[in-house]
Amino acid sequence: MDPPSLMPRLPEMCRFPMLGMPPRELAPRVGRIGGDALVEESTVTEQCGRSKGRRRRRDPPSSGGATEDESSKLVSTSSGNELTEAEAKRLKAIKSTDGNDNIKSEAEASSGICNKLAAQNPQTTEPPKQDYIHVRARRGQATDSHSLAERARREKISEKMKILQDLVPGCNKVIGKASVLDEIINYIQALQCQVEFLSMKLEAVNSPMNTTIEVFPSKDFSSQRYDTTSSLGYSSQTREYEQGSGTEWLHMQVGGTFERVT
């Protein structure tokens, strides 16, 4: 490609501090990349939210940023119809290595032999980070960026839905996303109503004890004895009474109620 076609991409690359790099070194490399490489770049990895920022942060001040950027472009250009495992691995390797390795691997990538690179690089791969979600297209699935992003999003949603299903009792038997959501909504509504009801009940239950609370000044340690006798042990559970019998009452109480949860 000739230099004028390079121009629209240049501002994006000039954000990285790569001015020491001679432009004639750049020109053939960029020229090999297809026109829509920039769009394709996001297809290969779906990185939660902060792909750009992290890449910029990790870049060494030398020409690492530009090469890394380009190497991921190169990967994506070679992903024509199917995104094989070798490519995913190779991408991981590229992402996890630093600038010098990137230059090397990028030189190898530009030779165009994917499998050889995948065989050479596994010693540099690190365990995959948590915030990367590698989307792999199966045969016959679309590989453009929107489809991949949408697939990743759907996977994430179903994962969250599974967590929610475990939380809501009786939700495991329900089939279908809509009915699961209905169950969740009903459960939350019921819980909120129950909080309201229980607070009313707490008010009704504790109202005759109100006078006994006011008998105790908040800092009166000598009133600790009364905690065991009155049912108000919890009401004096401020920090002054932690060693008192009220604490045991609380532990007993709370432990009893929560053993069912855990």
């Binding site: 999003r153 994430k156 949603i157 969250k160 839905m161 967590i163 929610l164 939380l167 809501v168 809509a178 959501l181 209905d182 969740i184 909504i185 459960y187 939350i188 509504q189 819980l191 909120q192 109503c193 129950q194 909080v195 309201e196 229980l198 607070s199 009313m200 009940k201 707490l202 008010e203 009704a204 239950v205 504790n206 109202s207 005759p208 004890m209 109100n210 609370i213 006011e214 049912s231 919890y234 009401s235 004096s236 559970q237 401020t238 920090r239 932690e242 604490t247 609380l250 532990h251 109480q253 709370v254 432990g255 009893g256 109620t257 929560f258 053993e259 069912r260 949860v261 855990t262």
Partner: protein, 147 residues
């Protein structure tokens, strides 16, 4: 809602429940005692509402500010909005719009994307069920002790 250090430094004799449940219990009980001390007994509905607000506040405080729903609850609490601390109860769960219903149920869920909403819903549900268990336990023990 101060003095978190005291409850944290308290050695936990019962290893079956984590610190957050303990914190929730402490906060709620303290808030309950404050409500009982400060609110006149003549107005039961006002007091019940305050207890409810205390329940949500203690939930939100023990969940921490890392969650969007707890931030929303606390913001509503501090700004003393005319609305209650909870979303309106009677919702029409229309067939197509379950996400909207969920958004209205979970505090602070208005501007979230769907993924985050589900995550927040999970956390909120967990805390809410914990709180209900706690309150039920208090009511049970108080009623059994009172008689």
């Amino acid at each position: 809602m101060d003095s978190k250090g005291s409850a944290c430094s308290n050695p936990n004799p019962n290893p079956t429940f984590g610190p957050s449940k303990l914190m929730l219990a402490f906060r709620f009980l303290r808030a309950l005692s404050i409500v009982h001390r400060t609110t006149p007994a003549s107005s039961p509905t006002c007091r019940g509402r305050r207890i409810e607000r205390a329940a949500y506040a203690s939930m939100a405080y023990s969940a921490g500010t890392s969650r969007a729903w707890s931030r929303a609850v606390l913001r509503r609490l501090h700004h003393r909005a005319r609305r209650r601390a909870v979303a309106p109860r009677r919702l029409s769960t229309t067939a197509g719009n379950r996400a909207e219903a969920l958004r209205r149920l979970v505090p602070g869920g208005a501007g979230m994307d769907y993924c985050t909403l589900l995550e927040e819903t999970a956390d909120y549900t967990k805390c809410l069920s914990m709180q209900v268990e706690l309150m039920q336990g208090i009511v049970d023990s108080a009623s059994s002790n009172g008689r």
